[in-house]
Structures are given as C-alpha cells and as structure tokens.
C-alpha cells in the first residue's frame, strides 16, 4: 500500500493539536465523550435541585445558611420562597429531560458506538456532528444563564438592557412553569410573576437551540446508519443498540421540529405581541389585557394549542430518552447471560412499534384539558396498546436470561435494574393511561412516581449499564467493580425507596409541584413518608458521588483492559482499545454473523464474533442461526 493511497483511507487525518483533538474535534468518539461529560455536568445541576426540593418538602421553614448566601432574594433568611421552589421544579425537569436524558443516551453513547458497531470509520458528516454538540452546549449555557439572571439581582437588571421583557432578578432560579412550560403562564411575560421575564425567555431560547442541535445530530445518525454499514452488516445483523439509536433519531427528527415551531410561536407571543397562546380577555395580576401598556391587547389565542404542540413532541421525547437504554440493556443482558437475545426480530419490531405508537398518544397528557371524551378514548386505547410491544421486550429480556449462567458484572446489574425499573414504572402507565382513572390521579405524586421510574431512573440505569460496559473500550481501563457494586445497590434500593412511597402519596391525593403541604390537614399523616423519601434521596444522591469518583479515578487509575474484556461479539470489540482515530486502523471489518452469537454449538469458544470468518464456525444470521 503506497503512502498516497493510505492517506486516502482517513477521511480526515488524525488531528495533532490539542484543540482540534479534544475540543473542536470532528471525531465521533471525542464528540460522544463530550456529550457524556455534558450530561454528567447537567445531571449534577439537576440532582442538586432535586436535593433542595426534598429539603424544602420534608423540613419546611428550616434555615439553610448556604441558600441565603447564594440566593438572598430567592431564599430570604435561608428559607426558600414558594416561587423559588417552583422554579427549582421547572429547571430540574428541563435540565434532566433535555440535557441529561436526551444527550447522554443518544448524543453520548450513540455517537461513540453507532459508527463503530456498524463498521464505519466516522459519522457521515463529521463537521455536522461537531456542530450538533456545540449547538447543544450553547443551549445548556443559555439555560444555566437563566439560573443566574433570575437569581442575581444585578445580573437581572443588566439583562433588562436587552429589552423590558428580559428583566430578571426576581429571586428564582429560572422560570416557573414546569418543563412543559404551559401557556398562558409561559406566554405572558414578566407581568405573570417572578421568573416569567428573562428566565422564561432564556428557557424558550435554550429549548429552541437544543432542538436545532438535536436535529443536526439526528440527520447524521440516520444517514450514517443507512449508508455507511460495512460489508456484510445487513440491517438484521445490527446490534439492537443500533436499532434503538436509529429509531430514536427518527423520533427526534420528526418531533423536535414541532417543538421548535411551538417555541417560535411562544417566543413571538412573549416578545412580539402576538397571541397564539393567549386567549381574549385575559385578566392577570390585576390587569385586563389591553387596558395597560404593560399588558397589551391579546385576542384569539389558544392555550390548549401549546399543549398539543408541546406533547406532540413531549411524548416521543420520553421514548427518545428510554429507547437507547432498551438497546443497551438488550445488548448487555445478552453478553453477560452468554445467550443470544431472545427473539431478535421481535425486539426490532417492538422498538419500531413503540416509536410509531409514540406519535399517536400525546393526548394522554391532556385528559383534563377539556378534550372530547371520544378523543380521550382513542388516546387511551392507543396508549394502552404500547403495553404490547413493551411486554414483548420485557418477556424477551426474561427469555434471554432464562436458563443462563449469568456473569454478574456491575454493567449486568444495572441492565437487570433497568428491566426491574421499566416494569415497575410501566405498570402504573396502564393505570394513568386510562382517562377515567387519570382524571382522579392527574397532577398528583403518582404521576411523578410513574415517569421518574419508567423514563427517568430506568433511562439513567441504562446509561449506567452502558458506561460500566463500554468504559474499558472508551478509556482502555475498567471502572472499579467493587465501588460499582456498592453504587448499584445503594442506587437501586434508593430509587425504589424514593419512588414507591410517592405512589401512595399520589393515591391519597398529594398534588405535584406544591412547595408546602402544611395547610392540608388530610396530608399531614403522610409526613413520615415525605421524610422517608427525602432521607432516601439524600443517601441515593450521595451514592452518586461514588459514581463520579469511580469515573474520573478509573480514567487514569483503573485496571487496564484488553481489546475484548467481556468476550463480546460486536464490532467495537474487534478493534484496538481505545479505538484508533478511524476506528479500524484503515481496514474496515467484514461481517459474517449476527450480533449475538453466544453459546454456539461447535464453535471453539462460547461465542462467535461478527467478523469471525473461519469455515469451522457454524454460520448463521444472528438470532435464528441456531435453534435451542
């Protein structure tokens, strides 16, 4: 091979400067790690906010000196105001859903492993890939800005220079309105109360920027997967992770534009005097629309319209969060059970079915919006039908484990934890998905418990599993298994202790998003449970410090790993550890087998790698290459 042709192998030569290599990198692996680091930073912020909320709920009125120092107006005397609490709720949800659950599973692990698992040397459009990360990071910086602009009086006044609608410094940590930003509250501007000026503007802008970043990423994922698979990597030979990332990218591609459109309308309502989401004759803060220069005339808008636009995006979004976790779980269960994924083909179709149905169920978030009961029935039936592909996945996971000699690594524990949390959280979906039951339970803690278990914590468990599993490939070193096990058990028991009592609170009727329950006689008996949840939350959050320590310690000091430490079969384990700049050192692999050829009769080892070509290896097309 001449030097000249060898040069052509690399689409872009390996960068040498630090900035091109680690900061403005076009290498999908570095971009993946950047996304994971972004998520690790964002989750720290989101977790701190949940900690503050728990402190306020279980020890109301306590004096917290640190809060007083940081937020003199939001927590006068160290006691947080209800507005401060509500802005915590909003920012916790927004940061977690967008900057953790959307970035780490897809942007992080997807970016790093999708090209390697299909045998490509990079994404189809590396520069676009870099842009998608940096745009997302700008979105994160803007949402962080909301914290300081609303929390700090002088910064808030400085922001008013942009325009009167950008006045901040109202003593919150951002807007109030939940991660859903319901109109008309979110559409009115600063007359609607604390946090609704600069905070809400920055919130909308941040979300719009995030939409653009995600769209750029989704384009790249789809094109790369469809067009850059290596020789022999047919669709049905792809690991289930790739199917999950692909479906997620399609969901993102079709749902983020809708949120972007809604976000543009919302921003226009806020700063350009339009009235898409503001109905006629609204009376807010003692002012009637059109009678005061601070509250110009608004006519003909529909607050429900925002709910439709938001949830048309919002429901696919929860699958954007969970699907990559499902993919990683299938992948890891199979590897450590040393068995093929049970029903590979069914798993693929289940992923597709979940993605498809996800576009037709947004109304189940709006059962109490006054929709026609007939619409509610339709949304209800469609929602419950998602139980079918979900059950297919769950039974196939159990089928994969059936009769296996399981290797209980930390990654495997977290994958098993994913299955457990997905089932436990999904069960209440069958209750909340029925409009008649939802009418009673809407906006109570059972909803909080449901989505935290099934979409929040389960996704996070999928990501924990993925990180413990792929860490050796990414950094050439194992994460510490002993710390990992302690981390798993503390987190696993912790999250159940947090969220199971919340179901009970919800059934009793404890409403979501209240900063204090002191005024409600019928909720007083629940205080021990509230206390239990808070104590569990403190312990579980502390346990994450172990995880952070494990990650950063292991990058430098962990036990060294070989090329295929888990004896896995897919392409990422055929290349060097960590993979070279073009993933396969100039020669792309050829694929001869399905992704989960474990326990193959007649094979020299108990597994056959996708690239194993030898004639002595029984050939098969993956899942059904050999019957048991």
């Amino acid at each position: 091979m001449s030097a000249e042709t060898h040069e052509g192998v690399h689409r872009h030569p390996a960068p040498t400067s630090f900035i091109r290599k680690y900061i403005f990198s076009v290498d999908h692996k570095i971009i993946g790690i950047q996304y994971i680091m972004l998520a690790l930073a964002a989750v720290a912020v989101g977790m701190t906010m949940s900690l503050l909320m728990r402190l306020n709920l279980s020890w109301p009125g306590t004096h917290w000196p640190i809060l007083e120092t940081l937020f003199p107006t939001g927590a006068p005397g160290g006691v947080m105001t209800p507005e401060f609490y509500l802005s915590l709720v909003t920012m916790h949800g927004t940061i977690m859903v967008f900057f953790v659950l959307t970035t780490a599973p897809q942007g992080g692990f997807g970016n790093y492993f999708l090209p390697i698992q299909i045998g490509a040397e990079d994404m189809a459009f590396p520069v676009l890939n870099m842009l998608s990360f940096w745009v997302t990071l700008v979105g994160f910086i803007v949402i962080l800005l909301a914290i300081f602009v609303e929390g700090n009086q002088s910064l808030g006044q400085a922001f008013a220079a942009i325009g009167p609608s950008f006045t901040g410094g109202s003593g919150t940590v951002g807007p109030i309105g939940g991660w859903t930003g319901y109109a008309p509250l979110s559409a009115l501007g600063k007359i609607a109360g604390p946090g609704q000026g600069a905070g809400m503007n920055l919130w909308v802008i941040s979300i719009a920027i995030f939409c653009v970043g995600s769209l750029l990423g989704a384009l790249n994922f789809i094109t790369t997967l469809l067009n850059m698979r290596t020789k022999g990597m047919s669709l049905m030979r792809m690991p289930l992770t790739c199917w999950a990332w692909f479906t997620t990218a399609v969901l993102a591609l079709l749902s983020f534009p809708v949120l972007l459109g809604g976000g543009i309308l919302l921003l226009l309502d806020r700063i350009a005097g339009t009235s898409f989401f503001i109905p006629s004759g609204l009376y807010v803060s003692g002012l009637l629309s059109g009678t005061n220069p601070n509250f110009p005339l608004h006519t003909g808008g529909s607050p429900i319209l925002w709910q439709h636009l938001f949830w048309f995006f919002g429901h696919p979004e929860v699958y954007i969060a969970i699907l990559p976790g499902m993919g990683a779980t299938s992948h890891i269960l199979s590897t450590f059970a040393r068995k093929p994924v049970f029903g590979y083909r069914a798993m693929v179709f289940a992923i597709f079915a979940i993605g498809l149905l996800g576009f037709f169920v947004w109304g189940h978030h709006m059962f109490i919006s006054g929709m026609s009961p007939y619409s509610a029935i339709a949304f209800s039936v469609l929602t419950l039908s998602i139980g079918v592909p979900s059950a297919v996945k769950t039974f196939n996971w159990i089928g994969t484990l059936w009769g296996a000699r399981i290797r209980f690594t930390t990654a495997m524990l977290f994958a098993l934890g994913f299955v457990s949390l997905f089932v436990a959280g999904g069960i209440t979906g069958l209750i909340l998905g029925q409009s008649s039951l939802d009418l009673a339970m809407h906006d109570t803690y059972i909803v909080t418990a449901h989505f935290h278990l099934v979409m929040g914590v389960a996704s996070i468990f999928g990501m924990f599993a993925a990180l413990y599993f792929w860490f050796p490939k990414m950094f050439g070193r194992f994460m510490n298994e002993s710390i990992g096990r302690i981390h798993f058990w503390l987190t696993f028991i912790g999250v159940y202790t947090i969220f199971v009592p919340m179901h009970i609170m919800g059934i009793v009727g404890m409403p979501r998003r209240y900063s204090s329950f002191a005024e409600y006689e019928f909720l007083k008996t629940l205080h021990p449970l509230v206390l239990l949840v808070s104590v569990a939350a403190v312990i579980t959050i502390s346990a994450q410090l172990l995880f952070y320590f494990n990650v950063f310690w292991s990058i430098f000091k962990g036990k060294k790993a070989g090329d295929n430490p888990w004896e896995a079969t897919t392409l990422e384990w055929t290349t060097a550890t960590p993979p070279p700049h073009d993933n396969f050192a100039g020669v792309l692999p050829t694929v001869y087998h399905g992704p989960y050829e474990f326990a193959v009769p007649g094979a020299p080892k108990d597994y056959v790698m996708q690239t194993d070509a030898g004639a002595d290896v029984p050939s098969g097309d993956g899942h059904n290459g050999h019957k048991h």
């Binding site: 490509a120 989704a218 850059m228 290596t230 809708v258 459109g261 339009t274 898409f276």
Partner: protein, 235 residues
C-alpha cells in the same frame, strides 16, 4: 449496467449465508445497502483498485430527505396551529394579490430548475447554467413579490401583532421565505460549482448536488402551495 449485477455477486460473496441473499432484509446490496450502492463497500474491499473512500451520493440524498422531513414537520405543526386558532376569527383576512403572483413565480422556478437538471444530465453545460440563473432570478422575484404582499397586507390593516391569523400570514411567509433563501443559497452554490475550471471532472458529484438541491427547491415550492391553499381556505 454493471452495478446491479456486481451487487448481487458481492452479496453472495459477502454474506456467508444463503438466507441473507434470498430474504428481504439482510442482503448487502439492497437500498440503501451497506456502504451505499458501491459493490466495493466503502472502497476498501471492492477490488476497484484504490483504498480511497468513494463519494457516496446516497449520503447526500438521504440527508436531504431527512432535512425535508424535519422542515415539513415544522410547517405541519404551524399549519395545525393556524387551523386551531382560526376557528373564532370573524373578520376574514383578504389574500393579497401579490401572493398569487408569487405562487406563479415559484411554480415556474420549479420548472426552470427541472430544465437545469435535465440539461446537466444531457451534458449541455451552458444550458444548465442558463436555467440555473433563471431559477435564481425567479427565486429572488418570488421573495420580492412576497415582500410586496406584506405591504399590501399592512395597507389593508393586517398587522403582525394582531389576531393570530393575521400573524400567521406574516409568519408563514417569513419562515418559508427564510427557507427559500436557503434554497437560493444552494442554487447559487450550484452556479459556483458550474463556473469552476475543472467542473466536468466531478460529474457524479455535480449530478448529486443538482438532485439534492432540486429536492429542496421543489419541496419549498410544494410547501408554499400548501401554505397558500391553507391561507385561502381558512379565511
């Protein structure tokens, strides 16, 4: 053509199982197939001599389809918004006459672009350039007539910040105009490509670029017709 035959041959060589070649999913050469449609995969194993990664038209085409899917979703969402908020509006907004003119202009521009593409495929380089320039001119003409339409609306007392429906007239045209401006940029890029000295050498790239720009241009045309019909029907 050698292509399909090669693919079939490669597919049998690549995949060791017969199933992969006979069953629907799994064959190496199917749309869009591993590594695009090149029999040699990414060029590493194909026996086409070099190790250089081939230009893949499918990457561009798939990406353009995906971009358009996202854009259509956004305009779809805005259309739903328009229909929902237009229910209680009592006074109809008159359709500016200039919008009829611009509709004609954009329809013609699609035709001229089609001519440009046809000329390229028939290797008539100068005709190709002429039709591209005509498309550019019509694109600018469209934008100017849209702006004139705004003036007409303003004269009729329809302003941006009135009722949501009035806003939509401006918003839809502005967002569409912005996207069409992107299309003008793309056509402009085709013109620049055409004027490069060794333009003829990258024939495959030229055709691919012309095709994906064409997809974009015709879709923008279609979106305008859709918005125009929406504004006409839901008065």
């Amino acid at each position: 053509m050698l292509g399909p035959m090669c693919q079939a041959v490669m597919a049998t060589m690549v995949t060791s199982t017969k199933k992969a070649t006979t069953k629907g999913m799994g064959s190496g050469g199917r749309f869009p197939g591993p590594n695009g449609k090149k029999p040699g995969g990414n060029g590493f194993h194909g026996g086409d001599g070099g190790n250089k990664r081939k230009f893949s038209p499918w990457s561009y085409r798939i990406t353009m389809w995906m971009v358009l899917a996202a854009i259509v979703m956004m305009f779809g969402a805005l259309s739903v918004a328009y229909v929902m908020v237009s229910e209680e509006q009592r006074t109809p907004v008159p359709m500016p006459r200039m919008f009829f003119v611009s509709t004609g202009l954009i329809l013609v521009s699609s035709a001229t672009f089609h001519q440009a593409k046809k000329a390229l495929e028939q290797n008539r380089a100068d005709t190709h350039l002429r039709w591209l320039l005509a498309t550019l001119g019509l694109g600018f003409g469209f934008l100017i007539s849209q702006l004139a339409g705004w003036r007409e609306l303003a004269r009729a007392g329809v302003y941006f910040s009135g009722h949501p429906r009035s806003t939509f007239f401006y918003l839809a045209t502005a967002l569409h105009g912005g996207h069409l401006l992107g299309g003008i940029g793309l056509v402009f890029y085709l013109v620049i490509r055409r004027l490069r000295p060794l333009w003829q050498l990258s024939a495959e790239k030229n055709v691919t670029w012309t095709r994906v720009v064409g997809l974009y241009w015709h879709t923008m045309d279609g979106i305008w017709i859709w918005l125009f019909a929406l504004l006409l029907i839901f008065k």
